[in-house]
């Protein structure tokens, strides 16, 4: 029996913007599920407001975003703003997709604690999520 008081990590995986390349997002969702987490998957074409609102309502610990269209420098800051506007300040943010090295510093400054570029393994992502979620009741 698992003790019912055990902490369940909840992760939101979403694709902001319009690109439909969700292979990575789905593989990551599945890897997180297979490592015992609850993954709220909202799919493609999510606006920053939809993502922030889902993060709020689902009370997730972690939000993972994926963009392959190159719109990350426009859309990621908008997601961060939308989260702040809702008082959701304690979620761990990570990002994946086609993100050039030169954007990494700016995204870190924005609050993205994990940035996973092409070639990253799901194991790295799972370990990142586990390590970043602080024990909470």
């Amino acid at each position: 029996m698992t003790t019912t008081e055990q902490r369940q990590i909840r992760v939101l995986i979403a694709k902001p913007g319009l690109d439909g390349h969700d292979r990575g997002a789905k593989v990551v969702a599945r890897a997180l599920r297979d490592s015992g987490m609850e993954v709220i998957y909202t799919g493609i074409r999510q606006t920053p407001e939809m993502i922030a609102e889902a993060a709020l309502q689902e009370d997730v610990d972690v939000v993972g975003l994926s963009i392959l269209s190159g719109a990350h420098m426009e859309l990621f800051p908008r997601v961060v703003e939308a989260l702040k506007a809702r008082g959701v300040s304690d979620v761990v943010l990570f990002a994946g997709g086609i993100i050039p090295e030169e954007d990494v510093a700016a995204l870190r400054a924005l609050g993205f604690r994990g940035i996973f570029r092409p070639g990253a393994s799901t194991q790295e992502i799972v370990e990142f999520v586990r390590a970043s979620v602080e024990p909470r009741e």
Partner: protein, 315 residues
């Protein structure tokens, strides 16, 4: 944040705190139970609706469309969407928001995805508690959408005042539902995807079945819908409204309320007992020990259970 502050936030309609409160309740922590204690007296106002049906029947789409209609009628809505936990990894993928994404911008709709989690104490109890929180937060209608249409769903659906069973043509859904015993507890039947071949046959079959009416005097309506085009949702919202009025005027609501209270109380007692008997780490090994003895036929399960409970009393 104290539990009192959280409860206050929920009652005030603070969405962030409502979300946090639901986590505590879902995780069945002592703080969660404390919170429920504070919120329970403020619940009982919402009409609770269970939407059940087999996978692929369009429950999420229908729930989304129904919510749109309820919003047009000025009702605030809480939604609990249940998806299965993987028995192998205890993880889950919760994807119901995909079908309800246009509701996300509406602050009078609060949706929460819930995994079945294989915890002792049962899903239906957790769902009842989560409904209570949304109810206390002032939602007029609280909808719970189940995973499929099996035995577990019967339990979950029973926690709602009105159960909507969604069926689709050509899938043998009706047979499955009968086998699972869910047909008996459905208050409204919806044939979704009614533009598919076989819809009329299914409707006819269901109507014939329902000639045998339920004792309480509620005439179970059989409706058609095409949820993806929001067809049939006005009728569904009407039927839910009629059901609510029926429950109120016939006294059935009072009966049902007591029935549900009894059910919830028994369920809560069950989990409290289990929690006390084997809930702590030491208890887990006590459970495992007893499991071994029962498995090896050293002792029968009833006597073993009595022994475990007896130990609680002694402590």
């Amino acid at each position: 944040m104290t539990v009192d502050e959280l409860a206050e936030g929920v009652l005030r309609g603070d969405r962030r705190l409502l979300a946090r409160a639901m986590t505590l309740v879902e995780n069945r922590t002592p703080r969660g139970r404390h919170l429920l204690r504070l919120l329970y007296p403020h619940s009982g106002r919402a009409h609770t609706v269970g939407v059940t049906g087999s996978a692929g029947s369009g429950k999420s789409t229908l729930t989304g469309a129904l919510t749109h209609e309820l919003r047009r009628r000025g009702k605030t809505v809480g939604i609990i969407a249940v998806d299965p936990t993987s028995p192998f990894t205890s993880g889950a993928i919760l994807g119901d928001r995909i079908r309800m994404q246009d509701l996300t911008g509406d602050h009078d709709v609060f949706m929460r995805s819930v995994a079945t989690r294989g915890s002792l104490g049962g899903l239906s109890e957790a769902v009842a508690d989560l409904m209570c929180v949304l109810d206390a937060a002032g939602k007029d209608v609280v909808i719970v959408e189940t995973v499929g249409a099996g035995q577990d769903e019967v339990e979950v659906a029973r926690t709602a005042q009105t159960t909507v069973l969604v069926l689709t043509p050509g899938t043998g859904d009706d047979i499955q539902a009968m086998k699972a015993g869910i047909m008996e507890i459905a208050d409204i039947l919806v044939v979704n995807k009614a533009d598919l071949p076989g819809a009329d046959t299914l409707l006819g079959h269901l109507r014939a079945l329902l000639m045998l009416n339920r004792a309480e005097g509620w005439q179970v309506p059989v409706q058609r819908a095409i949820a993806s085009r929001e067809e049939g949702v006005v009728e569904l919202a009407d039927a839910i409204e009629q059901r609510r009025r029926f429950l109120e005027t016939s006294g059935a609501l009072e009966t049902a309320r007591r029935e549900r209270a009894r059910h919830q109380l028994l369920a809560a007692m069950r989990s409290a007992l289990i929690r006390r008997a084997v809930g702590e780490s030491e208890g887990v090994s006590r459970l495992e020990e007893a499991v071994e003895r029962v498995a090896s036929r050293e002792i029968d399960p009833h006597t073993a259970a009595e022994e475990l409970i007896e130990q609680v009393r002694e402590r």
